[in-house]
Each structure stands twice: as structure tokens, then as C-alpha cells.
Symmetry: C2
Subunit: 428 residues, 2 copies
């Protein structure tokens, strides 16, 4: 068991710089490890997790006891807790990653030039990825496996509350690497809980870290985005909108709004604001809000909404910028698709927005003019997910516009290089 | 004419923040300007440049006089100087950019999901690009046009020595924007020469700048890479290698080495180091070095090279890390392709490397194991250029692994978003 005292007298900057150098060194051979070798490691990791169920659960119990003793909240303890089903799900998740197409070396584009040169753009790993996460111990397995599949070395920094669980899982990942003769430094777990280690990672460990992925709540992501001196794949929040156009099918609108908001309220793809076309309001507002109400959702409306549907409480300006992650929705009337675009442009976090409409021109305008990572037509915002997109596992969803955007799966954890084949061409 | 005194009493941070906000505001409508509208603006810009030749040359003469008076070096003055041919070349360059395919809205990938959802990944502009450059006034036209073609707003910050030339060219770009009814803030030129303006741009102007592109010498790029708090597309240097394998055709090897080094020595794709397979040395080293010598190139060799070809001077450790940009080459013998990979891994700037070989296994290993932006087989390193790749104009070459790598053309100045089309799908 790791205690705070273990951090005493450790030179954190030196320790972290060494981890960075090791990761960088491991990333070179990983970049051209064969798909078979990487998949053998992944399957061996899954086997080791299944075989180590008892050890993982015992380690987790130590974390749980410490968490209860320090008065952690119930939701936090639930994320921390492992059980045999969750251990099996981790192993299954790793096997699913093994089944994905190997992105490394795949040809993204190729063309011939008048000079006779043949040019290929092929995928390469990014290099070294730093993953900073909180209480969920399964991130250790997911992130480790996903980075390996894409040929990257990874430095994992889990929450201090799950440190024993993460260590037990990490030991299984190391077993898998060893079984496939891959370097142990391909997947490193920061061995100290001192938060200085995070600060070092955000500075890039002497240029060895290519990208940082934070997995956790708003305060973690905010700190990472503010302090990181290296690129970050993340979203701060998912302030997702559903716009119901006057041309919408009313039944579809009710179903999509309720599903977008209520299927799971705690995920980043959950809708937080409903925008209803003023022209649709007389016919559609009440049935949609009744459906939300019947599903257990509270409504905060602008003054027109409150006037039309008195159960709504008045929304304030902060409601338009609040990611509730709860059974609450803010609702405004807008002047057609142009009004929806304006509202979204002002308040959105550029994660995911949906339009419910049958009018092609309104749909085209919504899809063209809004610059969010994911735009949906006649589909629930809850589809904003790498698995639903067919990308397999995802390490998160990015709302930045550089490199990765939307679900960050194995393909988004790669870069590319150009291979140019000639027959002696010199440039005139 | 702008003088240093013009900078007095200007609140640079406020000025630059305002430019950032204007660029951001302009970027929204630019993102969905039609190809026809953008091309109309580009052709009108080219027309304005041709029509304003006298004004541009007069402004340039002011810069040239100031440059001569302050004792600027001849090479610097040559880059600064405009003449009727160079003015025409600027206009032609803009027209060539107009002819490129419009990247915005193009579908990068699309697929169907078992849920019935159809997913498209489509190109979008990046947003706001900051370009920081030195004495070449033509960058004003090239960079302004390229950013516009990709639907981005741009903030241009040219060198203080070319400020009058850049202003005259920028006026033509504004004419073009106005003729096509596009916002003037789409292409802004920083109006002050105070270097504090660069510092503000590197901080990102309050989150409005999405990427910075430095165009200039090593010290500029180094400052930008060190100080920028936003992503940068750049290469610090092009320390390009040519490796001649024992399986190479000797005549091809001579031609490719001489062309890679000597066609133009001052560009980033020029070869700086020649690596010769130890097994090839007895037959090939002397003819290759004789060919370089005949072309006017000095050779700095490791001890084996000096022993075999006494005209070579001994290379020191710093030669392996020096980008000469001159008629000098460093030469080492290596143990086959593995030795070449090791040398390149240690010393390369990850820009461009070439292998001359007929042995397929050696070529595959070189292409697979080296992680540089561009790898060439049996072709000159001088092909490392967006135009030669068929990308049209380029804003530079990037050696980073995030987002853009290799030549940065109009396509690399875009991001993407996902458009998901359904028929009422809710997520179970």
C-alpha cells in the first residue's frame, strides 16, 4: 500500500524526467512493432487481468477503505469500486482494442506526380502520450491498451485515491508487454501521488511528451488546459444543444429530446439546452416539455417558455452556460434556424449539437454554419461517442480544432509521414 | 512611411487584443464563404497587385533605402527587394492559389453505422492563423491568399524592415476582399513595428489565435517555438540526410547526392549529411565525392572518409548537427541501413531523409524505422516541397507531429467536423 509518506525525499522532477526519457526510448521500437506483437501483448494483458482478479480486488478494497475513512462522496466511491464484473469488463475492453484495425503504416492517401514520383501519406504513432486521470481505475487498462495499439508509449498518472487499484492493473499490463517481448517502459505508471508529478507532465518532461489527455472532471481538465505547455486532447464540457425546427416531426422531436437529455444525464453528450423554433412553439412546445416532465426532467425556460408552459421555472443567463449533467434542461424559443445558430454560437462549448427538422435548407444551414465537433440531424446527441461512431474504444472527446476533434480513438492517436518513391529523379 | 515614432503611445496589448477579436469575428462568415466568393477575392487581389505595381515598387524603394542606410547585409536586401518580375510573380501566385481545389466542406471520410446513422467527416477552416515573418514582402501576399483559400482569418506580422512594402501589398489584398464582399478583417496586417506585438501574438490574443506560422530564419523560429502558448507549424532546421546503400546504382547515387546538396544549398530540403554504406565505400565513395567536388562542394569527413579521400577535411561532432545551407557537406561511413538509421535517429531534425538503394529490404527498413516528415527512395531531397508534392502553394514545412507534418498547404490549414445524419435514431 502506498502512503503519502512514500513521496518524502523523492526528487519528483528527476523522477519524472527519467520517466519521460524512458518513454521516449521505448517509443522508437514500439513505432514499428508488428500488429501481431502488439495484439499478443494486449491479449496477454487481458489474460493477466482475469488471472489477477483477486489481487486487483484486494488492492481496490484498500483504496475503498481509505476512501471511506477519508469521507469521499458516494458517487466518487462508486467510480472507484471494482467488482468481478468490472474486472471482466476491463479485460474484454482490452480484447476489443486488440480486434481493431492497426492504424500504424496504413496508407491515408497516395498519388503520382508528373515527375514520376509516387507519394504515400502513411500513419505513424504520435510518440509519447501522457494520460492524467482521477478515480476510475479502469482508465489504467483502457488508456494503456489504446496507446499501445497506436504504437505510442504512455505515461499514466492516476488519482491518488485509486493508486493501489491502478498499480495492480498496471502489473497485469506489464505482464502482457513482457509476454510479447515489448519494452516495459511502453506503459509506465507514475509511482508517486505527489501532485508535483502532474505539473512536471504538463511541462512536457523535457520535450519527450507529445500530447496530454486528461480524463476526469472539469477542474482537472481546466488545470491541464491552462497549465500544459504541450498539446492537449480534451473537452472542458459538453454544453450540447438540440434545436427543434418548425419542419420537425413532432413525435420524433419528443423522442429525440427526451433521449438526448435523459438516457444518461451524466455524460458529455447529454443535451443541456433545448431550442425551439418560435414558429413551432404553439404546436410542439407543450408536448415536448410534457414528455421531458414525464421522464423526470425539470425545465428552466425563457419568459416565452414559462408563459406557454407554467411548470417551467425562469432561466437566468447562467443557465445558458451551465452543463447540468443532471435531470434539468434549459429551454429557449429562437427565431428559426438562424436564431438557433446565433444562440449556439454564443453559448456552445463546440462539442455536439443536433437539429430535428425535415426542411433540407434548414438542416444544411445548421450543418454548415455551426462549428462544433459533432453535428447531428434527426439523431440523439447521446450518439456522440467513439463506440457509436464505429471507432472502437475512445480515450475521450476533443473539442479543440488541432489534430484530433470529436471522439479520440486509436486513429486519432497517430500522426503521419510521407513516403516518396522514385527511380533516380533529380529536381531540375 | 512608418517610423519607429509611430509606435509611441500605442497600447500594444489592447491593439493586438482588438485585432484578435476582429479576426475571430471575421472567421465565422469566412468559414462558409463559397469557393466562388473566395476565388473572386483572390483574382481581384491579383488584379490590384498588377494595377498597383508602381505604388508597391515606390513603397519598396523606401524600405530599400532605409535598409541600405542602416547597413543591412546584401542577402537581406536581396530578399527585401521587389521588381516588376517579383510583383508579377506575387499576382501569379495568388491566381494559382485560386485554382486549387477548395478544401472547405470536402468529405474526408464517410461511413454507415448499424444504427442507420450516416457519418461524414468534412473539412472546416482552422479559424484564425497568425503569420510572423521577416524581410520577404511577398509573404504578405502568399500567406494572406493561402489562409483565405482555406477559409481562415489571418493576422500578418511582417518584418519592420519591409513594413512599407507589406502595407502596399496588404492594401491590394483589402481591395480584393472588398470586391468580393468579404470582411476586411479577414486579412489584417499588424500596423506597428514594436516587437511587443509579436509577444502578444505568441500568447494567442485571448484565445483567438488557433495556430502560429513563423516564416524566417532560425532565430525567429526558435523564439516562436519557445514562447508560443498556441500551436505552431514550423521546422527549426532541415538537417537532411542522404544514405547510399551498397545496393545503390552508382550513377544514380552520384546524381542524387549532387542534386540533393547542390541544386539550391539555401533551402531546408538541401542535404547536409551524406551517409555511405561501409560495404559500398570502396566502389562508390570516391566517385560520389569527386562529383560533389566537381560541383563546387567542400567535404568534411569522418576519419575513414578522410583516409579514403584525402581532399576531405576532418569533421567534428558539431558537423553532424550543422545545417550549413552552403556548399559544404558532412560525410560518414555507416554499417549498412541499420547504421544509417542510428545516425539519423541521433542527429536528424526529422525533416527529410533519402535512401539510394536497389535492395527492397533495406528500403523498407529505412522507410519504416525512420520517423521524419518525408522519406524518399531514389529521389533527391530537394523534392521536399509542397509544390513538388502537388499541394500547390505551401506556407512552410512542419516537422512537428501534431496536425500538420511536412509541407503545409491549403489542406493542412483546415480542421474537420463530423456530420451525422439519421432518421430519428435514439440511443438505447
Amino acid at each position: 500500500m502506498l502512503t503519502r509518506a512514500d513521496n518524502a525525499n523523492i526528487d519528483i522532477p528527476a523522477l519524472m524526467a527519467d520517466m519521460g526519457a524512458r518513454a521516449k526510448a521505448a517509443s522508437a521500437p514500439l513505432a514499428f512493432a508488428t500488429p501481431e506483437q502488439k495484439n499478443a501483448a494486449l491479449h496477454a494483458m487481458a489474460d493477466a487481468i482475469v488471472a489477477s482478479e483477486d489481487a486487483i480486488l484486494s488492492a481496490n478494497e484498500i483504496d475503498m477503505e481509505a476512501g471511506r475513512a477519508s469521507g469521499l462522496a458516494g458517487a466518487f466511491l462508486d467510480r472507484l469500486q471494482l467488482d468481478p464484473d468490472r474486472v471482466k469488463a476491463m479485460a474484454d475492453g482490452i480484447r476489443a482494442i486488440a480486434e481493431l484495425d492497426d492504424p500504424v503504416g496504413s496508407i491515408i492517401a497516395q498519388w503520382d506526380r508528373p515527375s514520376g514520383l509516387h507519394i504515400e501519406r502513411v500513419r505513424t504513432p504520435l510518440g509519447v502520450i501522457g494520460v492524467i486521470y482521477e478515480s476510475r481505475p479502469n482508465v489504467t487498462a483502457d488508456a494503456g491498451a489504446l496507446c499501445l495499439k497506436a504504437g505510442n508509449a504512455v505515461i499514466l498518472r492516476g488519482g491518488s485515491d485509486s493508486v493501489n487499484s491502478s498499480r495492480a492493473i498496471h502489473a497485469c499490463l506489464l505482464d502482457g508487454l513482457q509476454a510479447a517481448d515489448l519494452p516495459a517502459d511502453a506503459i509506465q505508471l507514475v509511482p508517486v501521488t505527489d501532485r508535483k508529478a502532474v505539473g512536471e507532465m504538463l511541462k512536457g518532461l523535457g520535450g519527450t511528451v507529445d500530447v496530454i489527455v486528461p480524463r476526469g472532471g472539469r477542474s482537472l481538465v481546466e488545470r491541464v488546459q491552462t497549465d500544459a505547455r504541450v498539446p492537449v486532447f480534451a473537452h472542458l464540457e459538453g454544453l450540447c444543444h438540440v434545436y427543434v425546427d418548425a419542419s420537425a416531426d413532432i413525435h420524433m422531436a419528443c423522442d429525440l429530446v427526451v433521449n438526448s437529455k435523459m438516457r444518461r444525464t451524466g455524460i458529455c453528450g447529454a443535451a443541456e439546452t433545448l431550442l425551439v423554433d418560435r414558429a413551432a412553439a404553439p404546436a410542439m412546445l407543450t408536448p415536448i416539455l410534457d414528455a421531458l416532465d414525464a421522464a423526470g426532467c425539470s425545465v428552466r425556460g425563457d419568459k416565452d417558455v414559462v408563459a406557454a408552459w407554467p411548470k417551467a421555472t425562469p432561466a437566468t443567463e447562467t443557465d445558458w452556460t451551465t452543463e447540468y449533467l443532471d435531470t434539468i434542461i434549459s429551454v429557449a424559443l429562437v427565431d428559426g434556424v438562424g436564431g438557433a445558430i446565433d444562440h449556439i454560437g454564443r453559448y456552445s462549448s463546440n462539442h455536439t449539437e443536433a437539429i430535428v427538422a425535415e426542411d433540407r435548407a434548414a438542416v444544411d444551414r445548421f450543418m454548415t454554419e455551426i462549428d462544433s465537433a459533432i453535428l447531428l440531424h434527426n439523431a440523439s446527441t447521446q450518439f456522440a461517442d467513439g463506440g457509436e461512431f464505429g471507432m472502437g474504444a475512445e480515450i475521450g472527446i476533443a473539442t479543440g480544432k488541432m489534430h484530433a476533434r470529436g471522439p479520440v480513438g486509436v486513429e486519432q492517436l497517430t500522426s503521419f509521414k510521407y513516403l516518396v518513391r522514385g527511380s533516380g529523379q533529380i529536381r531540375p
